[in-house]
């Protein structure tokens, strides 16, 4: 019986090792990327013979790159809002209910996630024309929103399935109607899932090339710009762009986190 704390500690040390090994694995390519942005050459790779700040300063001087970044961010945020709204609604309808055609509705829900990128991009393009949607920001937001809905639905459904029914029933007993009990009980319970799903959506939208390319107009999103630049070689400039985009998104994320925390405190 005395060995139990040690057993726990042994487990804990093992798990900590796995965690930090994983951190190492995800960070090493990131560090390489940042470092290569300082290489004084037109291509990334070892050995690095001399260093320069030109690539980084060049990005800040390049109005096109900065506006592209803003454009991609706006698309990501707008499409995420739509996906999350629609996704929650679909998940609430599907989870824990049995009705005729449920499997079909579920199948159609996950459909956009099943189609390879190029196909879905062309399908969206043809359909957009059929609907009379002009290529451009609106079309990209629409395509990203539709494509990301399945991810929201799956994540939210997983969380919903663990919602204790007793809580809803208690609220009902106290006279809350379905809408109010949804807002007061279900929604707060879903917050972690909604946050997770939003991260997926933002990420998928921010990194999407093929849909943005087919549905975009003359203003490139960040991945479209990077792909075009890649044509003339993987230069440190691309790494500098990616690094700065990363820092800016991280800054926005931290600011948003602080902001919501302060808002919560004030109310």
């Amino acid at each position: 019986m005395n060995d139990r704390p040690e057993l726990f500690r042994g487990n804990r040390i093992f798990l900590a090792c796995v965690y930090w090994a994983f951190v190492l694995y995800v960070f090493v390519p990131l560090i390489l990327m940042v470092v290569m942005g300082f290489k004084d050459s037109k291509f990334i790779g070892f050995p690095i013979r001399s260093w320069t700040l030109d690539w980084y300063t060049g990005v800040f001087a390049d109005a096109e790159v900065l506006s592209t970044f803003g454009y991609s961010t706006a698309i990501a945020v707008l499409s995420t809002l739509i996906s999350v709204f629609v996704g929650i609604w679909i998940a609430v309808m599907l989870e824990g209910r049995r009705f005729w055609g449920r499997t079909a509705v579920f199948g159609m829900t996950v459909l956009p996630a099943l189609v390879p990128g190029i196909i879905s991009a062309i399908a969206f393009r043809i359909y957009a024309r059929w609907l009379g949607i002009e290529p451009g920001m609106g079309a990209i937001v629409w395509a990203h929103a539709v494509h990301n809905v399945p991810f929201v639905v799956l994540v939210v459904m997983a969380r919903l399935s663990t919602l204790p029914r007793s809580q809803i029933e208690a609220a009902r007993d106290l006279g809350a109607d379905p809408l109010i009990s949804f807002i007061r009980i279900t929604l707060p319970y879903l917050v972690p899932a909604i946050l997770g799903a939003s991260i997926f959506c933002l990420l998928l939208s921010f990194d999407d090339f093929v849909r943005s390319f087919f549905l975009g107009g003359y203003e490139p999103t960040l991945p479209v710009l990077i792909f075009a630049k890649l044509r003339s070689g993987m230069s440190p400039e691309i790494n500098a762009i990616a690094t700065i985009a990363l820092i800016l998104t991280a800054a926005i994320g931290i600011w948003a986190e602080r902001f919501t925390r302060r808002m919560n405190k004030e109310t």
């Binding site: 320069t52 700040l53 087919f214 490139p220 075009a228």
Partner: protein, 369 residues
């Protein structure tokens, strides 16, 4: 900190391009009276020199909208999805892919008489046999590319690079790479066949036989290859990381490596090779066709503009008299000995249907083997 060197190479490059545009506005001012509006272009990164674009906009009042594309296939799909009301006026097509665009009614024939500067293109490119289809010209040649054998000069000798056989030799097992599609026509050349399929236009059985032989050869050599790649950037990265020491590549990406100081050599091996030309084409039903002609004529006006495109892409300029505007290294990386150039032929599009109907399944079969 002493190792931190502020290098000005990139900025010098931009400065040279600015000079190129400043030297050319005489013609443009002439055209500006009647214009305005905009022109929409789909092209690769750096194919429209930035300085020229600014100068052109200032002189003519025509706004230049550039949409960057990264591959011929996507451009075709996008245009096909947009027709019959495209948003584009000018796009960049590889010469041997004309036919696909033409057959789908995506391109308008080019009226060379409307371009006063047409004569400033080297006739090798403007009057080549590949350039005329159905009795019409279809594009303005701007840059030329070719398939070459690229090699790390510290490992592979110049002697060895004179034959494509080296690419398939045991000596360089696991140190080579190529694009399957392109390699198929090269292997046909190695075996003395016509990679353009013109000779087999009336004998499809013979064509299929040859393709089966080539396919078998590539499958037999599969254990020797390190990577079947797709993009120039991949090739450059493999060379830099020394994952490969030789490979088949387009000359543009190879030239870019040479210009960056990498010990790379290029050759057109004795069995021969294929070349193609990038052209600016006007889309069928282009919304601003007149502006498109104004733009193209301005683009052709000075060899310095051609030189700026070569500097950015590594491909060979189609303009006359570009050489004086290039540096020593840039000239070296875009020129080949006469006897090697004699072995070069252009891709032809006439038998594309036959060619691709045999090649596409071969590519799948080689990948699956």
């Amino acid at each position: 900190m002493s190792r931190l060197i502020f290098n000005r190479r990139r900025f010098l490059g931009t400065a040279a391009a600015t000079g190129a545009a400043l030297a050319s506005p005489v013609y443009l001012r002439h055209a500006s009276a009647q214009s305005g509006g905009e022109v929409n272009i789909w092209t690769y990164n750096d194919f429209v020199p930035e300085a020229f674009r600014e100068q052109f906009e200032a002189d003519t009042g025509i706004k230049v909208n550039v949409r960057l594309v990264d591959d011929q296939g996507k451009q075709f799909n996008l245009l096909a999805a947009e027709q019959p009301n495209p948003t584009v006026d000018i796009m960049t097509v590889a010469g041997h892919r004309f036919l696909q665009f033409i057959e789908n009614d995506l391109l308008a024939p080019m009226d060379a008489d409307r371009l006063t500067n047409w004569g400033k293109i080297d006739p090798i490119f403007s009057e080549g046999d590949w350039a005329t289809i159905n009795g019409n010209k279809w594009g303005v040649p701007i840059l030329s590319g070719m398939e070459v054998l690229s090699y790390n000069t510290e490992v592979v000798s110049e002697e060895e690079a004179q034959t494509w056989d080296t690419l398939f030799s045991e000596k360089y097992k696991g140190q080579n790479a190529y694009i399957i599609q392109d390699m198929l026509s090269i292997v046909m050349l190695m075996k003395g066949y016509d990679g353009n399929f013109i000779e087999y236009a009336n004998d499809h059985e013979r064509a299929a036989e040859i393709m089966a032989e080539v396919q078998q050869f590539m499958i037999d050599k599969k254990p020797l290859v390190r990577k079947y790649y797709d993009g120039g950037a991949e090739f450059q990265q493999m060379m830099i990381n020394q994952d490969i020491v030789l490979g088949h590549s387009w000359n543009g990406p190879a030239a870019a490596l040479i210009n960056d100081g990498f010990p790379l050599g290029m050759s057109i091996p004795r069995e021969g090779s294929y070349g193609f030309v990038y052209t600016f084409n006007i889309a069928n039903n282009a919304p601003n066709a007149d502006n498109a002609y104004t733009f193209l004529d301005a683009l052709l006006s000075s060899p310095e503009i051609g030189a700026a495109m070569t500097k950015a892409s590594g491909f060979i300029s189609t303009y006359k008299d570009v050489a004086p505007h290039l540096t020593e290294l840039e000239r070296k990386s875009t020129s080949f000995p006469e006897e090697q150039l004699a072995k070069l032929q252009f891709f032809r599009a006439e038998q594309n249907e036959l060619k691709y109907s045999l090649m596409d399944p071969a590519v799948e079969a080689i990948k699956a083997a």
